[in-house]
């Protein structure tokens, strides 16, 4: 029977099936790589200690500190005492249980979803979990990767397995070519998908992104797309790995080397494909020929419009759905926006370029093209937070730090930073931000803060002008 790539990876990882021969019981699924960070792991380690359990495979477990680390000078102590306690707890837990940790001062520290692929921990055909919903990012390399809660973190630590119900398959085929690939990015593609299918559109499914447009994207751009699968409700996004993926992985710290690597590539090439006649339980197609830059206006990632559009009326947004109409009314009030206002008239106070969605070298390079030789508006405070120390080092080697700093951007140390504002990088009440992150929920970037999701080039252009602009005119 023809199978999708997801079904092949799934079948390869079944340790035990609760009800042989039927599809409705849970399966015990083997986890090849477990990533940890400081926020969702301490209670899991406490659980292990309480029950006298060990970590079954510390050699397949990797940890870093990203969510609440400061992005200011790393040589200074962490001022926030509660953050410091949480960071110290992770260090102690890793030491006690023998887990590799890329700590605060490690040259490989960074956002867990940036450093996994960067160090070759993420490999095609593997299963990866992390106590973080954006684990879906790793699917860009043909990895079945998804976020889990803390109880499941504890379960994986103790058993290296997870009980799961087989998700449904959902194909999103993206056809056509963006007219201006520098101005219309992977971020615009995924925002337009979420606008179309909604924040629950992918619930219960694993999305496979396919089509010529996906093949044309770089690995880092594919990560942006897979990253936001969870904003459409899907736990994971997947892309069949191709030569670009194998080239990306080759030679990284934890990637198999030499002949072993070549053997694995042969195996991946032959096995990690979706068969021609494989059936998906759901299937949609999106053509990007006429796609334009996207901007979110509301308080969830489906509330998105074209940069050429005006803020919608609740009735137009809701399309007859009363719950959605009420949601739009709430969102307009929270965001302090009036229907029919052109989005390009909306003034901003802050710009954040960073997060596991858009903080890789590609993202910073593209944004720097917009910034070069220009100045940040005097009304705006703008920051760039590279996704990892390695991204930061590489960007500095290319002189990007200078481009951003000369324009008036802050150039900071790596971490999750203002994507969720667990450190001191937060919006003040009422502040409005053009952000390259993934969630525009109420208060996400700081209590009372207002977030507009955009691509790195759109964020960069907004920083210069002090309001949203159609970046196609600049690139």
């Amino acid at each position: 029977m023809p199978k999708t790539i997801f079904e092949k990876i799934w079948d390869n990882h079944i340790v035990y099936f609760e009800k042989e021969g039927s599809n409705d019981g849970p399966s015990l699924v083997y986890i090849d790589r477990h990533l940890l960070h400081e926020v969702t792991s301490p209670q899991a380690f406490d659980g292990l200690r309480l029950n006298g359990r060990r970590v079954r495979r510390p050699d397949l477990t990797f940890a870093t500190m990203d969510h609440n680390v400061p992005t200011s000078n790393r040589s200074l102590p962490i001022v926030d005492q509660i953050s410091r306690t949480q960071i110290q707890a992770l260090a102690q837990n890793c030491k006690e249980f023998g887990i590799t940790l890329f700590d605060f001062n490690n040259p490989n520290q960074g956002i867990v979803h940036v450093i996994g692929p960067e160090m070759g921990i993420t490999l095609p055909g593997t299963t990866i979990v992390c106590g973080d919903s954006h684990t879906s990012t790793h699917g860009a390399l043909g990895t079945l990767a998804f976020g889990i809660g803390t109880s499941e973190v504890e379960h994986v630590l103790a058993t290296q397995c997870l009980w799961m119900y087989k998700p449904k398959t959902f194909a999103i085929t993206i056809t056509g070519k963006c007219k201006n690939p520098h101005a219309i990015t992977a971020k615009d593609v995924i925002l337009s998908i979420i606008k179309r299918i909604g924040t629950a559109g992918g619930t219960g499914t694993i999305i496979e992104y396919k089509g010529e447009m996906i093949t044309d994207l770089s690995i880092e751009q594919r990560m942006t797309i897979c990253n936001m699968s969870i904003e459409a409700g899907a736990r994971a996004g997947l892309i069949v790995p191709d030569q670009k993926a194998f080239d990306y992985i080759r030679g990284r710290t934890y990637t198999p080397k030499g002949e072993q690597f070549e053997k694995m590539v042969d195996y991946w090439r032959e096995n990690l494909i979706t068969d021609a006649n494989a059936k998906f339980e759901r299937d949609i197609t999106l053509n990007v020929n006429d796609l334009v830059p996207q901007v979110s206006w509301g308080t969830n990632p489906s509330m998105v419009i074209d940069v050429t559009d005006t803020i919608p009326y609740p009735d137009d947004f809701a399309n007859g759905n009363e719950n959605e109409r009420k949601a739009a009314l709430r969102a307009l009030e929270y965001m302090a926006l009036k229907p029919a206002t052109p989005i390009t008239d909306v003034q901003i106070d802050r710009v954040f370029i960073g997060s596991c969605t858009n903080s890789r070298l590609d993202d910073l390079l593209e944004a720097s093209l917009v910034v070069k030789g220009r100045k940040v508006s005097c009304k705006v405070r703008a920051m760039v937070v590279p996704g990892s120390q390695q991204v930061k080092i590489e960007a500095e080697r290319l002189g990007l730090d200078k481009v951003f700093k000369d324009a008036g951007f802050e150039w900071r140390e790596s971490g999750c930073s203002m994507c969720l504002g667990m450190n001191s990088d937060i919006l003040g009440p009422g502040e409005r931000c053009a952000s390259t992150s993934n969630r525009n929920f109420e208060g996400r970037q700081g209590s009372g803060g207002r977030t507009h999701l955009v691509s790195p080039v759109m964020a960069a252009a907004a920083a210069i002008e002090g309001h949203f602009v159609d970046v196609r005119k600049w690139l």
């Binding site: 495979r57 397949l60 803390t150 058993t159």
Partner: protein, 199 residues
Amino acid sequence: MEPFKVIKSKVTPLDISNVDTDQIIPKQFLKLIQRTGFGKYLFYDWRFDRDGNPKRKFVLNDPKYTGRQILLARDNFGSGSSREHAVWAIQDYGFKAIIAQSFADIFYINCFKVGLLPVSLRSEEIEYLFRNTDLNIEIDLFNQQVTIGAIITHFKIDEYRKKALLQGLDEIDVTLQLESKIAEYEKKNKVIAPYTDKP
């Protein structure tokens, strides 16, 4: 985990769709390293103003709803972040079940891990509940049945999850009994692709 018992209560209605886990438990409370005590921070930014005073209009601050054990919500409840702190907060506040039209995937799974019951009902039943928030409700997990005043309706739940809740099973214990199967998988898998080798 405590075995799950029949719940008899009225509902606390939260008439908002797509409630994300950032609203259920805002980020500033995720720095705590214990599992308990999150109830006082539940829906913090909706419940309290910037000075920490209760906002009158928010449903949890209405004394009428004090002590109710069932949270009533709309569609896609618990979307966004995977933070299990969200279910800890709901449970610690005193809720034992959530009735909603639908739930986000990770939140739904997290509920079962701590013994909080998520019940999905049809949209017309949800509408009826929102119009009649003072009816006595009984949730009987064993019979997969919700009694709303004089109306009886049934809900779907996976058998394995139901058993785990009713018996208060420790999932890790269950899995550890399958150790030989896990070890066998690791041995076999090395031949296919050496993912389970130390990287």
